[in-house]
């Protein structure tokens, strides 16, 4: 009887020791993930802050006269030239194309979405694109195009989503053209692929898990971050509005 009791006690203590080690493992995993997140996440955060500072100090975006560049004072004319205003944004992929600002200031293997809000006029401008890629992000395009769904249910969803626009715009041809436009443009295929496909995903041609699968297949994400910075927008010589520049940066590993 005593021997049986000892066996039970031993089994109990062994199980307790194993449970303790397993819990250490999970706490350890948590710690490791935290360490990785701190380092990799902080890098993306740092890049977003630097990029935003470079942008608001750039002659391409900020107001400048003959003598100096006014950091943080965005020029309305330059915003209209390089950004897309909210009213015209819609979901047309061809307007999201290679942009001098993103060509000059962007991190490799990254996606960036920049928006500027004018609080006084209740107006906004957006700009989206990719930094130079080593080809991994281009693989995203071929992956996602291999997953196009044009079954009757998707077509129905598509028409429901677009309503008369889809019917009036030649139905499926309308969609096919939207797919072909970014492919046909040779300005920046990576930009065209990733952002246009993401926008087109809203139409239901792809499911969200297809997008996720293709993202994971082509590159390992380092992290995503969003930052906002107060700016002023120079409307005219006598009019300045308050606003913000918001930047969303997603980086993939080299």
């Amino acid at each position: 009887m005593k021997a049986i009791s000892n066996v039970f006690m031993y089994v109990f203590w062994t199980l307790l020791a194993i449970a303790f080690i397993i819990s250490l493992y999970f706490f350890g995993i948590g710690g490791f993930l935290k360490i990785s997140t701190i380092f990799e996440g902080s890098e993306v955060d740092r890049h977003a802050v630097i990029l935003a500072n470079v942008l608001i100090s750039s002659d391409k975006l900020s107001y400048s006269d003959e003598n100096k560049i006014y950091r943080g004072l965005l020029d309305l004319n330059k915003l209209n030239r390089y950004f897309v205003s909210e009213g015209t944004f819609d979901i047309h992929p061809f307007i999201i194309k290679s942009n001098p600002i993103i060509e000059e200031f962007s991190y490799p293997n990254s996606e960036v979405y920049i928006s500027v809000w004018d609080f006084d006029a209740q107006k906004s401008w957006v700009l989206a694109g990719n930094g130079p890629s080593d080809g991994k992000l281009a693989g995203f395009g071929s992956c996602i195009f291999s997953k196009i769904k044009l079954d009757p249910r998707t077509i129905f969803r598509l028409i429901a989503y677009h309503g008369t626009a889809a019917l009036g715009g030649k139905g499926i041809t309308f969609v096919a053209e939207k797919v072909k436009i970014p492919v046909a443009q040779s300005v920046n295929l990576v930009t065209q692929y990733t952002w246009s496909t993401r926008l087109l995903a809203m139409t239901g041609i792809w499911d969200q898990y297809d997008l996720k699968e293709c993202e994971n297949a082509v590159a390992t994400k380092s992290g995503t971050t969003s930052k906002s910075f107060p700016v002023a927008i120079r409307i005219s010589e006598n009019e300045i509005h308050l606003g913000s520049l918001n930047i969303q940066l997603t980086e993939y590993k080299l």
Partner: protein
């Protein structure tokens, strides 16, 4: 026989040893490795990261800026800047590469390469600057 069965004892000890090895190899060693890359101020990874951030940040000047960066009193580096990536190699006393690191650069059109250097000088001046005219240079010695 007194106490528990020797088979159980052996099983318990072996299980605990195996689990400990799993914990060490899967969690603790990678975490320490991750930390080891970033803690030293003069490692190749840190220098690549600092250099890329300093160069990109210098673009934010609205007039002119000069940055002198010396990561360590004694360490020297091979640096290659190309395709918006800064690659760094840490050299030891015998000029043998002992560590490598790379980091992303946020600006365009910069290609430089330096061998066995200790100090970096980053200069940027906009077209608006009085003395300089649209300078952007990274030098090392």
């Amino acid at each position: 026989m007194k106490g528990s069965s020797p088979t159980l004892e052996v099983f318990g000890i072996v299980s605990i040893i195996l689990l400990s090895i799993v914990v060490l190899s899967l969690v603790i060693f990678p975490a320490l490795g991750e930390l080891a890359k970033f803690i030293p101020v003069d490692s190749a990874e840190t220098v690549a990261r600092d250099l890329s951030d300093l160069i990109t940040t210098s673009s934010a000047t609205t007039d002119r800026i000069t940055i002198t960066y010396t990561p360590s009193k004694s360490a020297t580096y091979n640096i290659q800047i190309d395709e918006r990536i800064v690659k760094s190699e840490l050299l030891n006393d015998k000029k043998v590469v002992t560590g490598k690191g790379d980091s992303k650069l946020g600006i365009n059109n910069l290609q430089k390469s330096f061998s066995d250097v200790k100090t970096f000088t980053i200069q940027k001046a906009t077209e608006k600057a009085e003395v300089y005219e649209n300078i952007f240079s990274v030098d090392a010695e």
